[in-house]
């Protein structure tokens, strides 16, 4: 049986007495039974037999109950012997589960240690959770700089890009509350705890997009805190790195995008960094989100349009058709389609504009002015900026050039 859902159902179905459900979701994006990398496979190889054993034990117990209920119902038989038990039966029935559990325990222990292995790491990435999105930074030290050409640190968010068949070590932490990083098809989850660094290893064996979601309850917009991991072939990854490190290109004078830049400097750059963006006097602008936001950070928008989701990976930057082209691309074509980024035609105008119009309405955040006082006047996420439609046009035009 190839479809894991089917296999599980045949067990759970028998167990719960509701078999008969013929099929399941063809492709759940966060399915825990479709590993796409060695770490998830290790888990999968362990959980399949365990579920099977559990299912078999379950079926035996249910059969026993059913038999007893059928066989010994009151049909007027005499009152049974008042026996208090048979030690032999009891010892046997205690030893059997002990043996089964020992059988489960041994591979479990070895898998735990295999998954925790970090000494052959090839790449290190810092992953930082905050309310309600993930920031990734690629430090420019060690192997990252020596072997992957990271002359400068890269800071990005929402979508984590890693090279194919590479043992990537995530150093997961958090800026505010506890979050949990989870890409089901690549590995189990690991909490990002503020003040601590937890290690999680990812390795993707096939190019593609792997979705995940924050699984530790982290406040108001917990359900909108998603993430994706992008696995690229090595060459595509190098191209991605080069693009990330490319210098800032200001929009051409007189274009709508140039208006957008001015507006961006005025409205957005307080929190959102665009590397290389300079003010009128030519001073580089460094955003200072910690003055305005409780978490102390806001996503870096330098290369926004190279990612294809936004706002904690909750909404697509691509329209449905363009999205399918990228997400369903074959492993060979995927890299090129992903690197193409978001073009003007493909931009999901609806969600992005709604977001710019009134972010907290789309994604709940404490921006209720009466509650601001209680968090020291700091926002919990993006506030409603009160932009006009013209301003939004300009901003969208500007953002479209952030590739």
């Amino acid at each position: 049986m190839k479809n894991p859902r089917r296999r599980f159902l045949s067990l759970a179905g028998a167990a719960a007495g509701l078999v008969a459900v013929a099929g399941c979701a063809k492709d759940a994006p966060q399915d825990t039974w479709q590993p796409a990398g060695p770490n998830a496979e290790m888990i999968d190889n362990l959980q399949r037999p365990v579920f099977l054993v559990a299912g078999i034990v379950g079926v035996i117990v249910f059969a026993a109950v059913a038999w007893v209920v059928f066989r010994y119902r009151d049909r007027g038989q005499a009152i049974p012997e008042q026996t208090h038990g048979k030690p032999a039966v009891e010892i046997t029935l205690t030893v059997i589960p002990v043996l089964i559990l020992i059988g489960v325990a041994i591979p479990t222990a070895s898998t735990i240690f295999d998954l925790a292995k970090t000494d052959d790491t090839q790449m290190v990435i810092n992953v930082t959770g905050q309310q309600w999105w993930w920031e990734y930074d690629y430090p420019a030290i060690g192997d990252n700089a020596a072997k992957y050409g990271l002359s400068q640190p890269i800071v990005t968010s929402g979508q984590l890009v890693i090279p194919e068949n590479t043992k990537v070590l995530l150093r997961v932490t958090s800026r505010d509350v506890i979050h949990s990083y989870w890409i089901p098809k690549l590995n189990g989850k690991k909490d990002g705890v503020p003040g601590r660094v937890h290690l999680l290893r990812l390795e993707g064996s096939k190019p593609g997009i792997y979705a995940g979601q924050c699984t530790e309850f982290c406040g108001l917009s917990h359900s909108y805190m998603r993430m994706e991991t992008i696995v690229l072939k090595r060459a595509d990854f190098d191209a991605w790195v080069a693009n990330q490190l490319a210098p800032y290109e200001a929009p051409a004078e007189g274009t709508l995008a140039k208006e957008g830049e001015a507006l961006y400097i005025q409205q957005c750059s307080r929190c959102h960094q665009v590397n290389g963006l300079a003010d009128a006097e030519g001073n580089l602008i460094v955003s200072a989100p910690e003055q305005y936001v409780v978490s102390g950070a806001a996503p870096n928008l330098t290369n926004l349009m190279t990612r294809n989701t936004f706002a904690g990976a909750s909404w697509d930057l691509l329209t449905q058709e363009c999205r399918d082209v990228v997400w369903k691309a074959s492993a060979d074509e995927f890299g090129a389609k992903y690197l193409a980024g978001v073009s003007a035609d493909c931009l999901n105008q609806k969600d992005l504009r709604e977001w710019l119009r009134n972010a907290p309405e789309k994604k709940p955040m404490y921006v209720d002015p009466t509650k601001l006082q209680e968090t020291g006047g700091k926002y919990r996420g993006m506030p409603a900026l009160g932009l006009t439609e013209d301003q939004i046009d300009a901003l969208v035009a500007y953002l479209l050039e952030r590739k």
């Binding site: 209920v69 009891e90 735990i112 949990s180």
Partner: protein, 671 residues
Amino acid sequence: MAIIERPSTEIAVAGGATVGVKPSEALGVFKRPGASNSWRDWIVTVDHKKLGIMYGVAAFVFFIIGGIEALLIRLQLMGPDGKVLSADQYNQMFTMHATTMVFLFVMPMVSAFANYFIPLQIGARDVAFPRINAFGFWCWLFGGIFLNTSWFLGGAADGGWFMYAPNSSTLFSPSHGIDFWVLGLQITGIASLTGAINLIVTVLNMRAPGMKLMRMPIFTWMALVVQFLLLFAMPVITVALFLLSFQREFDATFFDVAAGADPLLWQHLFWIFGHPEVYILILPSFGIVSEVIPVFSKKPLFGYPIVAMSGAAIGFVGWGVWAHHMFASGLGPVSVAVFSMATMAIAVPTGVKIVNWIMTMWGGKLQFTTAMLFAIGLVVQFTIGGLSGVTHSVAPSDTQQTDTYYIVAHFHYVLFGGAIFGLFAGFYYWWPKMFRKQLNEGLGKVNFWLMVVGMNMTFGPMHILGLQGQPRRMGVWTEARAGEGFFNIGFWNMIASIGSFILAVGVLMFIINIVYTHKSKRVPIAPLDPWDARSLEWMTSSPPAEHNFDAIPTVNHLDEFFHRKYAEDPNSHEIKQVASAEEVLADLNSRPDEHIHMPSRSYWPILVALALPIICYGLIYNRLLMAVGAAFLLLTMFGWAMEPSTASDDDFDPPAPGEGGGHTKELAPLG
């Protein structure tokens, strides 16, 4: 209450002499209340049976509240982009649903059964500390009400019942909800602690002659284990709650990461309490079905000592597995491996119980009453929950499933399919004992089947949802990321939501059943021993008199009552009935005990308990109010301490009738 004014007429008559002026020995404004039939008696009662009933009624009200919260959650998740609740309301809803069900329904419902039946099952006249018992009940009730008033005072707690730091700090949860949660649980915690001490002492010290530990009914056994768990688990959560309340109310730094704190401290403290808590919730139900199954199988419990000992073993090992709730929180591989193994170990005693229940039924003479059906329902559903539990003990697999709906499915199979089904078995089984009438069996079976279907339809699909990757505690899901195909997240969420309403109708049937049973004239008074039961609580009138037994029986067997009714024919080795229940009771009561002393009613428990929420409101809103509450507490505690443990006969209002009529029993000053 009577401020002393009683003597006025006598004074007039006797010219100022204090004839008839017999102020209470108590140093306080209140005289001891006497027995009466009015509502007042419920306020001042220290009778374990009355308190048990009050626990039960109040807990059931909270069950309905928690159920409504659950239905709102399922409504919200029924379709994509649910609009029933806002994100904030959703967070409050699931926090309070769990808190209510755990602390305000299952735990007190267990207290209800334990209070009512432990003294009866061990042949005692009351618990060891009746006033403390009453105090515990009022603490719990006021704590629960206090907790729920937060709905009307700016929103309830929104941090999840696990209340992980630092999300629970004022910065991330600025409303007062968590303050109410922390303080409310402190108050209910007092109830758990006093209840634990009280019941342990009762069980260890007040057993009838011949009632050895290994002759105790299994429900009493399990309840005893639970009380020990409570005794040692409550102080741990108390510490955690103190730390959190100091952080929120007085700006302490315990969970302030910028000051160098470690948020995992909370998780460890919480789960050191939280995991034993799971057994606190489930073991009493194990006890109940271990009573029910033998009765309706006409066989003693198979392997009684092993069931008792496995309960104790669960209680013991339960302390060593808390970190399996934290496999994803970065403990390090060694800790994870150790806790993973320990968790597997705890599956063994649990499995033993299931085996023993099946073996009890094996070769029996099964009667499928509603109580028995619920018990069998527990055996089946708990097995599913237990097996999914075993899949969690495999830590790597758990890192995929933890915090997804798979976990939600797991613990609802354990807690709803297990604990709550057990409680319902108890309702049907013990109803005639408590209320003289048997609940209708027909309605009962409808109730059972609706609950079974509803329960499996609600929580069964959650296994699949979890494995498809739907995390817990998310207030909305979107079509865009629900997966493709017909059987995607949307489909299963819909099924679960429909199931939850079937479940709700099932619970409604129970309420209808109660109303029908007690309102309909056609329902007769139940016979003395409707189920042909086995243990001591059935060897007295229904409901039992205030003093429980006219004569305390001497116990010679496990299942003493059964052995007084039945005997083995020495020739044919057949079990033959030798006496009816009525005959057994008549025989016992033919030599009634004399000078039965029962505990005196008291106002103090409810008054002392009342001071606590006042202090807590003060802590949240106004320190002056806190001082008022503290003064009130001081005053009432003084009153309690000065109330004589042994009230004299004239210390009643109205005075106890006749010589030796009212009656108190010896209560020591702590009582």
